[in-house]
């Protein structure tokens, strides 16, 4: 085990990808000279040169589309869209092209494209820079959606994504970049198919991903001090979802709380809740509950932003409420 920050882990992943696969290249806004808006690609331009580390114009739709084209033509592009907020400008390419080309062409084409972007709120950057739209992306068949929450996954999921023959979208919570974590020794490409139980427990299943994982773990710690034993599941992959791990956990704990920084209505948390109803309804001792962001554009001032987002205290309160209600 060794300590490093999440952004260093992403950089290691990028470095490893570029070093080991001559077809891999990185493009996006400010990935080269600037070193990446979140400093994930610092030093890569100097090492790999401007052909493989390509600064792009502010043309999200076109550089994502160009990634699709290059992927169709034998390359392994890694496209950095600075934030999920800007990815909305590239939705046409993502939804209409990346997700459809393989199926629509009868299997003739494949799009081995990796798109990375920062997501999430919590840094007082106001409504247009605080979206958590990974749940939207998870709605779309034809793409895979990942949300690495740990440094080991930040590096390993990127490496695994590059081995995928289909488009993979990686959502990195912006709050995590400066956070330190323990990288597992010899960590290679990550398994992309299974959720991880980050804290085993018997009293309730807290199902979450990405930046919210750390809030859920903090809440679980606080609950443990009060004798409540929460199991914390890190989804890791949002599409496909590992329903088996969720259902197995709920069958064991008989209670499920979903923590999702996306808005509640029509959200990924709603999908998970539905899957629990479909797969484990008779195992439940209490209704499934959800902690999501308030249904508002995320506001700038800290006191309002804090209350708009899932927090350890709200998770703790929800768990206690559920346990009181249950049998």
């Amino acid at each position: 085990m060794r300590k490093l920050t999440y952004r260093e882990a992403v950089r290691e992943g990028l470095h490893e990808a570029l070093r080991s696969d001559p077809r891999a290249f990185l493009m996006g806004e400010d990935v080269g000279k600037y070193g990446g808006a979140y400093a994930c690609s610092r030093g890569l331009l100097e090492e790999f040169g401007p052909e493989r580390i390509r600064d792009t114009p502010l043309s999200e739709s076109t550089f994502v589309g160009a990634g699709i084209g290059a992927a169709l033509n034998g390359m392994r592009p890694i496209v950095e869209v600075m934030t999920v907020n800007f990815s909305l400008l590239a939705l046409d390419q993502i939804v209409n092209n990346a997700a459809t080309l393989r199926h629509m062409s009868g299997g003739q084409l494949s799009v081995p494209l990796v798109v990375r972007m920062a997501t999430g709120a919590g840094r007082q950057v106001a409504a247009q820079h605080s979206h958590s739209l990974e749940g939207w992306y998870a709605h779309i068949p034809g793409i895979k959606v990942l949300a690495p929450a740990t440094v080991t996954d930040a590096r390993g999921m990127l490496l695994a994504a590059l081995r995928e023959p289909d488009p993979v979208f990686i959502f990195e919570h912006s709050y995590l970049y400066p956070q330190e974590g323990e990288m597992e020794d010899e960590a290679g490409p990550a398994d992309l198919t299974h959720a991880a139980i980050r804290r085993p427990g018997a009293g309730i299943s807290v199902i979450t991903y990405g930046g919210s994982l750390w809030k859920a773990l903090k809440a679980a710690e606080d609950l443990a001090a009060e004798g409540i034993d929460a199991e914390v599941i890190d989804l890791r992959s949002l599409r496909p979802l590992d329903g088996d791990t969720i259902i197995a956990s709920v069958r064991k704990t008989h209670r499920a709380l979903i923590v999702d920084e996306g808005w509640r209505t029509g959200s990924l948390s709603a999908e998970i809740s539905a899957q629990i109803m479909e797969g484990a309804f008779y195992d439940l001792d209490a209704p499934v509950d959800r902690i999501c962001s308030a249904e508002v554009p995320i506001p700038y001032p800290k006191h309002l932003e804090d209350v708009a987002l899932p927090q350890p205290a709200t998770i703790v309160a929800a768990v206690k409420r559920m346990l009181e209600k249950g049998t």
Partner: protein
């Protein structure tokens, strides 16, 4: 006007245009008969663009086209039967029947669609060209789009990026004067499309898109430019569709007089006339050409009719590779 071609070449060009037209006339008939459904956008009137431009390309070059791409796929060499079967929705189609009229694909001929979001193909063309450049391959990428696409952001973004990175992309605008039902004067502040190339520092040329030889000559110049490593060009082929936008279009937005006037410039009739002037076309030539095309179409229809439906169990196949 371009130089007089030799007889064989002239006959080939005439055949290619006529073949597209007769194929599409048949598809319109089959649409009315219920064999083909969904959207069907006909290219009739615009045949000189595909027939002139596509033979200039090499096998290693790539094509990205639009939802009005029957002619382009025919010119690229995808068998007519596979195209007809695609229109029928049969598994024997060029996209296993999953795409229909708007989504012809033929990876073996580097034909990347068949894309139905206006201007959505331009970024992909830029990326294919980038892929060629990064792998030191010789190919150029020909990207067809309509005049309506020039109002989209992706047109401007793609022109900028291709020029910035000096990529071998041919931006080929088929200007038929209408973005679906809206005339170009009603949606463009600058209706001189070729002039837009100046803003990106690339060559731009307006070409008579009803003249197959003019199309070919302009295309040759632009591909030579790209192959020499000088980057992209924009060609504006001025053309006109004689039919409605799609089979659903009641054509309330243009008058019949305008359509009749443009039919005076019919690329096939005009080229036939010029071949007569050059004395390289006999009535026997025409009769045998029509007969050969009719036979090919009959065979394509028979192939599509005999085709099979994709099994229901394959519905989710190829959403992902694995």
């Amino acid at each position: 006007m371009a130089n007089e071609p030799d007889r064989d070449k002239a006959l080939r060009l005439l055949h290619d245009m006529l073949r597209i037209r007769r194929f599409e006339e048949k598809t319109a008939e089959l649409y009315s008969g219920g064999k083909i459904r969904g959207f069907l956008h006909l290219y009739i009137g615009e045949e000189a663009v595909a027939a002139g431009a596509i033979p200039v390309l090499h096998p290693e070059d790539a094509i990205v086209a639009t939802y009005r791409e029957h002619g382009h796929a025919l010119m690229r060499g995808t068998p007519m039967g596979a195209l007809m079967a695609e229109l029928y929705g049969k598994v024997d189609g060029c996209s296993r029947g999953r795409g229909g009229s708007m989504h012809f694909f033929d990876a073996s001929r580097r034909f990347y669609g068949g894309l139905a979001i206006v201007a959505g193909g331009l970024p992909i063309a830029v990326g294919i060209a980038l892929g060629d450049k990064l792998q030191s391959r010789a190919g150029v990428t020909a990207c067809f789009f309509g005049d309506g696409a020039t109002a989209e952001g992706e047109f401007h973004e793609s022109m900028n990026l291709a020029a910035l990175w000096k990529l071998p992309v041919l931006f080929l605008c088929e200007n038929n004067l209408y973005a679906m039902g809206t005339e170009i004067h009603r949606y463009e502040s600058q209706t001189d499309i070729a002039a837009k190339a100046q803003g990106y520092g690339m060559p731009g040329e307006a070409v008579d898109g009803m003249d197959v030889l003019a199309v070919e000559a302009a295309m040759r110049k632009a591909t030579d430019h790209a192959r020499a490593g000088n980057g992209p060009s924009l060609l504006e082929f001025q053309t006109y569709r004689f039919r409605a936008h799609s089979m659903y279009d009641a054509e309330l937005y243009r008058n019949k007089h305008e359509v009749e006037e443009w039919k005076e410039h019919d690329p096939i009739k005009n080229f036939e006339g010029r071949m007569h002037e050059w004395k390289c076309l006999t009535s026997d030539d025409l009769v045998s050409m029509e007969a050969a095309i009719a036979k090919e179409i009959d065979e394509a229809v028979a192939f599509a009719e005999a085709g099979t439906w994709e099994p229901l169990g394959d519905l989710t196949k190829d959403v992902y590779t694995t």
